[in-house]
């Protein structure tokens, strides 16, 4: 009885001590991947993912509490890059890329208040006080931060128009007839 108690205690103590030393030796400081993931993110800190900025989202992705498809502006491309970084496989065809959207200004309603200009993380909106503002399409990441800032609801998100240069052949739909065994 005593021998059993003693031997188990001893065993536990030795293993615990060993693991303690190992934990010290193999301690992982901050997750090195967070910085790498953050480098892949758009960096506009738009907040569409629900995390505090891109760094927050990167940390969440690294520890696994957020999926790689969390970033709407990044879209499929980013999800694929993140999955490759993390070494996980995801089915991107299921990701409903709702189509990228960019901001557009209804010029007849714009009063030139400059609020959206100050909000834009990529300086994609140009305008001066009392002048009609405009969105530079190439620079807009579609974060949507400007929408709520507009006092006259002149800002809205519009799908990016498909042009000849951006058109992609759709994936072939396999409508295969069931083989007839008879």
């Amino acid at each position: 009885m005593i021998a059993a108690i003693l031997s188990l205690t001893l065993l536990g103590a030795v293993l615990g001590f060993g693991l303690g030393i190992a934990a010290k030796k193999f301690a992982v400081e901050t997750d090195a991947r967070v910085a790498e993931i953050a480098a892949l993110m758009p960096g506009s800190n738009c907040g569409q993912c629900g995390f505090p900025g891109c760094a927050g989202a990167a940390a969440a992705i690294a520890e696994g509490s957020a999926t790689v498809t969390v970033c709407p502006p990044g879209g499929k491309a980013l999800a694929g890059a993140l999955a490759a970084k993390l070494g996980i496989s995801i089915d991107l065809s299921g990701v409903a890329d709702a189509g990228p959207k960019i901001a557009a200004i209804a010029e007849e309603i714009c009063i030139g208040c400059c609020r959206c200009v100050k909000e834009c993380p990529t300086d994609a909106i140009v305008g001066a006080a009392k002048q009609i503002h405009a969105v530079m399409r190439e620079a807009c990441t579609g974060c949507g931060n400007c929408i709520d800032r507009c006092p006259t609801e002149a800002m809205k998100m519009e799908p990016v128009p498909v042009t000849l240069q951006h058109w992609v052949w759709p994936k072939p739909v396999v409508t295969e007839a069931e083989p007839s065994w008879a």
Binding site: A4, S7, L8, L11, G12, L15, G18, F26, A32, G87
Partner: protein, 193 residues
């Protein structure tokens, strides 16, 4: 010497731990989606099994038998195995965060991989010596890795095949595992004499 060689081949192929003894099926089905993670899992398990076989031999012959504590065998063995797995987890997390992420829950679950405890117990049953215990564990672990790799490769091809809806996913994988098992049964005819 040739005895040890035969032991290795026998444990790896003829008495394959997964496909003939049906031990360790959990990671076999769980971590066999890609060859890369299968290889990582195989190596981690090999390390754990070999180390555990050595440690449990010492435990058995130096502690449990002299003190007559045979009834504590499973308890102490699990304790040692869990400690080794924890150690492996730390090393993998440090050395390869990608592999750590890819293995996910299956890494700590090596503790409950019945192949590990099973091999340790078989060693005790067979009253093997230390070197033989180690080789037995190592050979079986190599067999486990080999089968895991083969199965992962097959499943990578399987992912491209169009499987009838009712068979898609796990069912076809089990069918495949069964066929692979049949193939490994073929090694039973190997004759070393």
């Amino acid at each position: 010497m040739s005895e040890y060689l035969i032991l290795l081949v026998t444990t790896a192929l003829v008495n394959n731990v997964v496909l003939v003894k049906f031990l360790g099926l959990c990671p076999f089905m769980g971590v066999s989606k890609s060859v890369d993670s299968a290889l990582g899992m195989g190596m981690a398990t090999t390390f754990v099994i070999t180390l555990a076989c050595g440690a449990t031999w010492m435990l058995e012959n130096w502690l449990l038998v002299p003190l007559g504590l045979g009834y504590l065998r499973i308890l102490t063995f699990i304790l040692v195995i869990a400690a080794v797995v924890q150690f492996v987890e730390m090393v993998v997390k440090k050395a390869s965060p990608e592999l750590y992420q890819a293995l996910g829950i299956y890494l700590p679950l090596i503790t409950t991989n019945c192949a590990v405890l099973g091999l340790a117990l078989i060693n005790v049953q067979e009253k093997s010596g230390f070197v033989k215990s180690l080789l037995y564990g190592f050979g079986s672990a190599v067999g486990f890795t080999l089968v895991l790799l083969i199965f992962a490769g097959l499943r990578e091809r399987l992912a491209l095949a169009r499987v009838p809806a009712s068979f898609a996913g796990a069912p076809i994988s089990f069918v495949l595992a069964g066929l692979l098992s049949l193939a490994f049964m073929g090694f039973a005819g190997l004759n070393f004499k």
